[in-house]
């Protein structure tokens, strides 16, 4: 396929918080930067973040990066790499102050400093407590404020945006060096090869592999699919954070505040089942306890509805005044997405996927690393990743609230700095291999010529249903084993997906088929990794691995204190050690995770 080639110093794929922060670093260094994005930058999913960005500024009382680090390591259930965690927690205050200087409209204290609110899991005194106020926010629109601030800055720095362009595949040469990406311009249907001296992925998460997801439709894990097809393994893909109360069938979040105000969960018999699982905290037990109880009720046949697959969140007893005054927006959400008015009827809810902890393996410089000549963390020249698509790994088995936005900005910037260093040492473009665009060309030709295949829509729904039923919030060994077979079979069917519309201009059917190729890789990585990890740790919660002496909450440090690496080639797994050695601090040794 002869196709147009465009040359840049660096190509950034993704214009959410991570991509924009990285691009800014590069553009301000005077480099020629192209940012590719499927949607207009400020419509990236970062816009959904409300809670805030975590940084130990200490504006509300004493705080320190060491405390933030302790909370993050503990939150990760010791699967996070302690060098990366130290780096993030030390850099966090600097990057937040930098955002403030960029003009981000943070809420303020009377003395003019950034206001900080408390958030679950963030404590004083190395986890001993009490809670600390560490989350910096801009009303309940922190993500929105961050995107707008960074976008304006990038425009000023002359970053070149390619909006409504979809990156298709990574380009690597025979030595494995990354030389850019192929991308489809939606408006014209043309494919262009972006030949770059450095390529940075910031494509966000893949929450859409599950039927119940709080993520927007664009979160199809494209960066992960591209990396996997190019031979890069995916790290710790079994770990996804769930939120207990997403609206059944829609995914939209019902805030924890509803249970805080006195709402509670019922099964199909009208039983307040949380009393059995958490006799004192009941419906206010921690997220994972509530989610696990809900999954157990459903598995044991006590779910509500025709398919017995959801639970009921009752709040009518609070009365319309309390609901309208203290829980604004809940009535609209319930009416629009569940078709019930919570003043009269309960809201159908299920544990809903929220955040992907795993991703493309990187070190704390944002360089992509894979097992190779220099050991398990050998740098892939020219390739970088940051944000939810990357695994540095700071979140390990479970992310702490507000740490994702911190991750975006800290590692977006760090990856940008690494690119600048690499470009200084490696002048000029390396020549493209003759088959640079081969993989994309073959995928597109296959799709255009496919006859007798299955619909993208049907296949997508089957992937999502399979992941939900077999690899949900609480995991059962029999269901996981079946799930692996089912997802492998689905993978063969996706290879024969068919679209009816073959037009060129803005062919969204084609775009969705190309997204499906990415979804299936992420789904397979997730299912296979989850099936293999025979312990419970953080968000990976197995019914056959529970709390017993020596195994706190089912965690098995002897055998499983290690990162999973899934390879598409051969659908196989490898493992690599967790880095328990911080940069300067003392190691925080594993212990039971209790709050």
């Amino acid at each position: 396929m002869a196709l147009a080639v465009r040359q840049f110093d660096a190509v950034v794929v993704g214009a959410g918080g991570a991509g924009l922060r990285a691009a800014l670093q590069l553009a301000e260094a005077g480099l020629r930067v192209a940012v590719l994005t499927k949607v207009f930058p400020t419509r990236s999913h970062t816009v959904a973040a409300q809670g805030g960005i975590g940084a130990a500024l200490g504006n509300m009382g004493t705080d320190s990066w060491q405390w933030h680090m302790y909370d993050t390591v503990k939150g990760s259930d010791w699967l996070g790499d302690q060098d990366a965690i130290e780096y993030m927690c030390r850099e966090a205050p600097k990057v937040v102050i930098e955002l403030e200087h960029f003009g981000m409209p943070f809420d303020r204290n009377e003395d003019g400093t950034v206001y900080q609110r408390p958030f679950g899991g963030h404590m004083q005194n190395m986890g001993a407590g009490p809670a600390v106020q560490r989350s910096c926010c801009a009303a309940d629109r922190t993500g929105h404020a961050m995107l707008h601030t960074l976008y304006q800055r990038n425009v000023r720095a002359r970053t070149q945006f390619f909006v409504e362009w979809m990156a298709l595949d990574l380009v690597r040469d025979a030595s494995g060096q990354v030389l850019g990406v192929t991308a489809l311009e939606m408006e014209t249907g043309e494919v262009v090869l972006f030949h770059a001296r450095a390529t940075l992925f910031a494509t966000g998460g893949a929450g859409r592999i599950f039927a119940a997801s709080t993520n927007a439709f664009i979160n199809t894990g494209d960066g992960l699919g591209m990396a996997a097809r190019a031979g890069i393994p995916l790290e710790d893909m079994e770990f996804y954070q769930f939120h207990p109360t997403g609206v059944y069938g829609a995914g939209v979040l019902i805030t924890e505040g509803v249970r805080g105000e006195g709402g509670y969960l019922l099964n199909k018999n009208g039983e307040r089942f949380m009393e059995r699982y958490a006799p004192s905290a009941k419906d206010l037990a921690s997220r994972d306890v509530v989610s696990r109880a809900m999954a157990t009720e459903i598995k044991e046949g006590r779910g509500a509805g025709p398919n017995a697959d959801y639970l009921l969140l009752k709040l009518d007893h609070l009365g319309p005044e309390v609901i309208d005054k203290r829980l604004p927006g809940i009535r609209e959400i319930a009416k629009k997405f569940a078709n019930v008015d919570p003043v009269r009827e309960p809201i159908p809810v299920v544990p809903t996927v929220h955040y992907q902890m795993g991703g493309i393996p990187t070190n704390y410089h944002g360089e992509v690393v894979v097992p190779g000549r220099q050991g398990p963390n050998t740098v892939v020249p020219g390739f970088y990743a940051a944000g939810e698509c990357a695994c540095a790994s700071v979140h390990g088995a479970n992310r702490l609230g507000t740490n994702s936005l911190t991750d975006l900005v800290v590692f977006g910037k760090a990856a940008g700095d690494s690119v600048i260093r690499f470009l200084r040492e490696n002048p000029g473009h390396k020549p493209l291999p003759a088959d640079a665009a081969e993989r994309s060309a073959a995928r597109l030709a296959r799709l255009d010529g496919q006859r007798g295949g299955e619909s993208v829509h049907v296949l997508g729904n089957e992937i999502r249903r399979t992941m939900q039923a077999h690899c949900g919030v609480f995991r059962f060994p029999d269901l996981l084993a079946e799930g692996v077979q089912m997802i492998r079979a689905l993978s063969d069917r996706v290879a024969r997906s068919e679209i009816q519309d073959k037009s060129k201009v803005f062919n969204t059917a084609r775009v969705e088929a190309l997204e499906l190729d990415n979804l299936i890789e992420v789904a397979r990585a997730t299912m296979v990794s989850a099936h293999a990890r025979k312990e419970s740790r953080g968000a990976h919660d197995r019914a056959d691995c529970h709390d017993r002496p020596g195994f706190p909450n089912g965690r098995d440090d002897q055998n499983w204190l290690k990162h999973t690496l899934w390879y598409k080639e051969g659908d196989r797994l490898e493992y690599k050690p967790v880095n328990l050695k911080p940069l300067t601090a003392e190691t925080i040794p594993p212990k039971a995770r209790a709050y």
Binding site: V47, A48, T214, F217, V252, G329, I333, K336, S503
Partner: protein, 81 residues
Amino acid sequence: MAVTEADLRRLRWRCRRGLLENDLLLERFLVRHAATLDEGRLAALNALLERGDNELWDLLSGRVECDDARLAPVVAMIRDA
């Protein structure tokens, strides 16, 4: 100028948003109304979709009333879809 297939496909993509709430409401709207959109409605929709996601959700959920007479009819259609 009539509404073309390409116009509709472009619209469909621009209904992909940063907030799931908006994705869901716009998807529902497209299922019901995409086939019968006229040029005026399409232009109004495209203008509406230029707004940021939070602003859009405020309008579509009815938390904020639409201040632009040109957009109000399509906002109502999406709310009722």
